[in-house]
Symmetry: D3
Subunit: 318 residues, 6 copies
């Protein structure tokens, strides 16, 4: 296993780290956390394995982690190998029937199963699911995408939006100790396969599962005050502030769906949402079990307060 | 829905048919049946839909159907589209790493999900599983395949055999009313993807689940006394007779893995195994709920006797 | 077993009939249906056995059938053998203490146990209950019956009306797979045996059990537009229409308690009530599992609509 | 309520009586006791009510009482009213089809329901059962009864012996707090009604239920050393002694089936069997909760010893 | 075991006493009763053992007894042995840190364990608890006690009042058949040990457990109309009357906390509260199972009415 | 909270420490560990609090910790304050009735409750128990202690040995998430209070609970090869070696009961036993979650092997 060597630490320091985690473990016990797995954390072999171990750890200490993954790059690769050139409108893939089928094979038949295998090898019991399995996701085709104001819009084809989530299968398997890993594919009423944006799906799952947290792993530090200055990370914003930043063009276009997903989850009652840097080793654990915190937390009306973590944690979280 | 019109039947005849099914329903109540879905039943759209409805019906009348599917033809199609020419040894696909990955995408990411969708649309709650999910299948690479007596054999690559089946996930989801649909893909201890013969997998699943029946859907009538005479169907053979027929070269090579799967299941304690013609509409229901019976039943020591179906069925089954 | 021979049907036709039943099976799964067993269906040996098999089938495919039976003719027979001539007022039996005891012996000690035995022999697990058992029915003596407007009425003696139903025993035994068969006998607060009209009891049981259906088996086709014309069957009426027909004297007096029972059940929230012809073999299955339907359905405010049966049923029900 | 007035007792004496019962309550907690209800206890109104109250009390203090009743006298009454003269061979009723039907009506439809009503009115939840209900009793016709040594015997007709007991329904309803009251009627494989000796049935039920006690209520003090001397009550005998007394003609013929029932129950593993005088008010409670004991206890190999009742009871039981 | 000899009673009288208890047993079945154990009942060895047996009896006949004990005299004894002279203000002990520690050792480490052992030896399964165990009691320090009107009051030190009761541990162990015995010791938020008045604790426990009864054992007959006349026992008073008596100085100061506890329990929804004379043998049983009743019952708005005890009890209770 | 500051550690190091604990967490999941709390870990305020936090952590990550404590020093203190001079024979306290009572008050009423409070304040749900509660421990008086070979021995008085452990209460409360804290006090058949050696009790509890580990906290490093050389710690010994060391006088007398307890537990089937240094902060976590290990492990036949901890731990444990 890669990661910074801990050989230099004394045993006492190691024990102290475990004890420092106790207030967080207590707070998170029995809670559901939806983790959107994407970017480098899903493409770099060492990072991928670390995230899998982090997830197994969350399960063993009493949480219900639920994973949602994307996979845009690999879909593009396979499409090209099959001689199809991808087309994007406003950053969204135009998805004809054949593209939807390729996407499903890559997402459900490859990426999902890779994550399942990694978690199983780390000692967890992962179960791959698509939105089709057990009628998990009720989806419908998205409306055409406007490219200029007032135009009729371009039909994106087999791209879905989530209409409802039927959590029965996730409830059943979490109760039995499994870790669900969800592929962002569903179907419409007529049975046609639909590709679903993974951030959007994660937000709806988090809402339907009454999750305690949504954590989105990305390839950036978080939301930056000044997109050109990596040192300008904003540790916390409200929904209102986030919307204002998007309106003012101050959030990079790649980041917008992630911010939207957090806002959707918050509006559906999820109390905490986070956009964190998946390139940092064990970023998930850092976010959850240390009082440094990482990335940007987007909060609703009341937001987080130090008293949420009971007990011996004296300092403020961030 | 296709199938013979029943408009000509009187209501009384229809009711009588339902009542005739009662002794079978009573006998099968609460039992597990493993169904190997393959051939025309999986490629012809109308047949595929009928099998899905038959499976939903089995579930509603109190059985636990567990589905295993294959998918050789579609793997070959996708391989060719990607510019790879399949190679077979003794009818078994030589499977390099890339082929294993293509097979997984097609099996787990396409065929499995198509069956799941059909069952769901028929009113069931299907759940797609691979051998990787929830550590369902423990597999190992097959030994090299000898082509001539005494040679070192040809390494088939990433082709697996089943070492053990961990039925926990199937037990959990059957108890909750779901219908598991299993894709014949697993991984070895090192996490490498292995392609598994679906008949072989179905036999091991049936054994591990203590199934009451294994039903293999094929594209032939059953075992023929004279392979060239379709009228020479053998309704029932013992393990010993089946082995003798194989030894004497009297069973077509494509049929051998199906017969082997039945023998494996019988040896693992499954009391009934059937090879039936999936091209016949509702062949699954005919086999299970009428006293005509179809295809060939392979039996172990004691075999089936009319008294197994209690109650008002007066005639012999076959 | 009697009934129309199905030997002329092809196996494919038989399978198709089973599949046609699927949408109904799905709709009825887990639901309670109260069946008032009476008339020819209870006196003709062959019909009686068929109804028993139909009930066992309902149980095996996931419903909770609850049976209520009458028995007026046999009570009269036994009374005469004991030298007592029955007296009726407005079609209701005047019931002195001795008559009540004879009725109880015949209903609870003979007819009930015959039905229990038939169901058990058909493979079910029937349990005979009276309204006294486990305090199932709380009853009180009926008010005197007026014969002419304004008179003081004639005291019917030990004839009861249902005040409340205590469903505990039925809930417990249905959960465990038993089929309750209820005899229309109860007692008042002082422990005196009361004879209860079976239609009236069935209606109250259906209401208390939140049944999905009440089906009353009779010896007529259903409600006729013109009582003298058997071809004038009314397939469906609303409560208002039924009341109007009774008011207008257009419903035969023997049918009135059955219609009243349906109205009572509808008012207690049972969504569907049916009066069907028990002389027709397997009338119960015809009513429930074919799209011909039989008899008259009495409905409340909204009534039945084709969309209630989900899935592949294309035609309207009736 | 009749019975000796307790008005003369001080409150302190009353409390002391309750406390004296504690060691017995503790010993009997959760145990099943089968009570054969017969004789005066079933015909005298005041006694009948007392037994019902005693049974309710047993249930409330944590036991599972199961009642079996007979009813010979009332069967004879009704037969005579219907113009049939009973015939007995060796004290056993010759039972033609009509007699069997009359017996069933009287036992299941009258006597059983009277007891059910009394228990319910005493605050219990009684459930009437026959041997037919829920397939409780598997019975077969008795062999012909020899009247002289070596003769072919006289066919008793529809008289049954118990082949097996299927305790499922009793297990289910006892777990839910009900008190089963069993009528001695069953049927053979062909569905023909069989009259069963109630002592014989009680013994088999006690064995199948692994009861802690069988208590047979009779109209005599117990087994007498000298049948003509009421003062010669034998408080305890072993199986061997009882058999010797029967062989020596020293047990009255009416008592023999009761002694046989006790022996059968002991052989089936019931540790304690008692024949007590049902004419004594609250004889059931006296037998169970006071250290005087009443009637005759028949014991197997080891017999009862004072240490069976733990705790503060200092004196020997009898 | 001491107590009045019952040898003079006939067996019939004993049985009658048991049957007389039935309506009470039925009424109390499954109910929780909180018993404040104090005074002579806790110091006289014979009485102490009787109360323990009474409690075991309550448990066996289906109630959930919960015990709270005090222990002032023994605390004073141990304090004096350790050279500390107790100080009281308004009858309340001034409790410095050392006194609180001594009180805890005596209450939790001695008196509690003595009661536990007595109950266990009587055949129950007692479990000692303090207010600290399983966070049972949330307490806070009492406000200073005023000695004269308008003064600043005297700080009583580590004396607590109940802020909340967390019944989880009691719910769990009662469900499993244990008898909780609670010591009146708790701690504040900072973990400092607090001595709690046992009457006050019993009242709050009874309220939090939704108990059916609170019974306070004392060393007096009950509330007297004229404190100097032992014959002037008031069998029943309302809250209003009790308050008026306290206001008028007509209730002895030692009795006031007991009356206050009853009023608190009534206000928290406990329907019945009793102050009874623990010096009378088996006073608990007399209060609960005979229609003489003892001591004073304090009632809220509606009070007790004879119809609360269903069934055969004909006379009024008191 | 004291302990080494972790402020110098990077967040990445902290996360890595958590991940390193995963294989241990996985191995210990659902297992019971009995912890004998004694020495400095119980007298030093900071250490005491750390051990409490460690125990809460074990509970949250899925283990069932069960605590047993001693308390010799505090008993001596209170005895002296009460004017009693302790007497020891072979290091064992001579315990007259008064001493037993003082010991009980100190152990059950003070030390036990202090530990309960600390665990509760750390976020756990602790429940204090003595050997008397719920009949947890069946004890008998120890035989007299020989001081010289062949003498009659000196009666130690009220000192007990464990005859049996009745784990019901511990099973019930562990299943509900509580942490039992057991005081080493019991009683004999006659109800007399017995003082029990805490190491001896811990060993018997571990055996009866089928614990995975017994951990004994002491004030030394572990077993030393050379008692005078603190650097000569023996990391692991077999039962045979330990016995040989005791026989050869090479184990300090204070250590002998701890080694005996480990041997007893091993003989009762506990697979791992440890004597560790409770003076080291978080020694419990160090022993369990780091691969350094501390103290001495005493093992039975097979002993520990690195493969017991599955997964990614590459180095040997010790």
């Amino acid at each position: 296993m890669s990661g910074p060597a801990t050989n230099g630490l004394s045993s006492a320091e190691k024990a102290e780290v475990l004890v420092e985690a106790l207030p967080y473990i207590r707070t998170f016990f029995g809670k559901t956390v939806v983790i959107k797995y994407g970017g480098a954390a899903m493409t770099d072999a060492a990072l991928k394995e670390m995230v899998a171990l982090d997830i197994v750890l969350l399960r063993y200490i009493g949480m219900n982690p639920v994973i949602v993954h994307g996979g845009g790059r690999e879909i593009t690769d396979v499409m090209r190998r099959l001689g199809k050139e991808p087309v994007f409108v406003n950053g969204l893939r135009v998805t004809d029937g054949e593209t939807a089928q390729i996407a499903e094979m890559v997402l459900t038949g490859k990426i999902n199963q890779d994550i399942v295998t990694l978690i199983n090898r780390g000692g967890g019991k992962a179960l791959g699911l698509s939105g089709k399995d057990a009628n998990l996701v009720v989806a419908r085709r998205k409306a055409p995408e406007a490219v200029a104001e007032g135009d009729a819009g371009i039909d994106l084809g087999y791209v879905g939006r989530v209409v409802a989530v039927n959590t029965e299968i996730i409830d059943v398997v979490c109760r039995e100790g499994f870790i669900p890993v969800v592929s962002p594919v569903g179907c419409d009423d007529g049975g046609a396969t639909l590709n679903i944006n993974a951030d959007h799906l994660a937000a709806h799952l988090a809402g339907a599962l009454a999750a305690y947290k949504l954590v989105v792993l990305t390839d950036v530090d978080g939301i930056l005050k000044d997109p050109s200055d990596p040192g300008s990370l904003v540790p916390q914003v409200s929904i209102a502030e986030a919307r204002e930043m998007i309106g003012g063009g101050r959030i990079a276009s790649g980041m917008i769906p992630k911010v939207d997903a957090c806002i959707t989850a918050l509006e559906k009652g999820v109390p905490r949402t986070h956009i964190i840097d998946g390139r940092e080793p064990h970023s998930l654990l850092l976010e959850m079990f240390t009082n440094r915190g990482i990335g940007t937390m987007i909060i609703g009306g009341q937001g987080w307060s130090p008293s949420d973590v009971a007990g011996t944690v004296s300092g403020a979280r961030r």
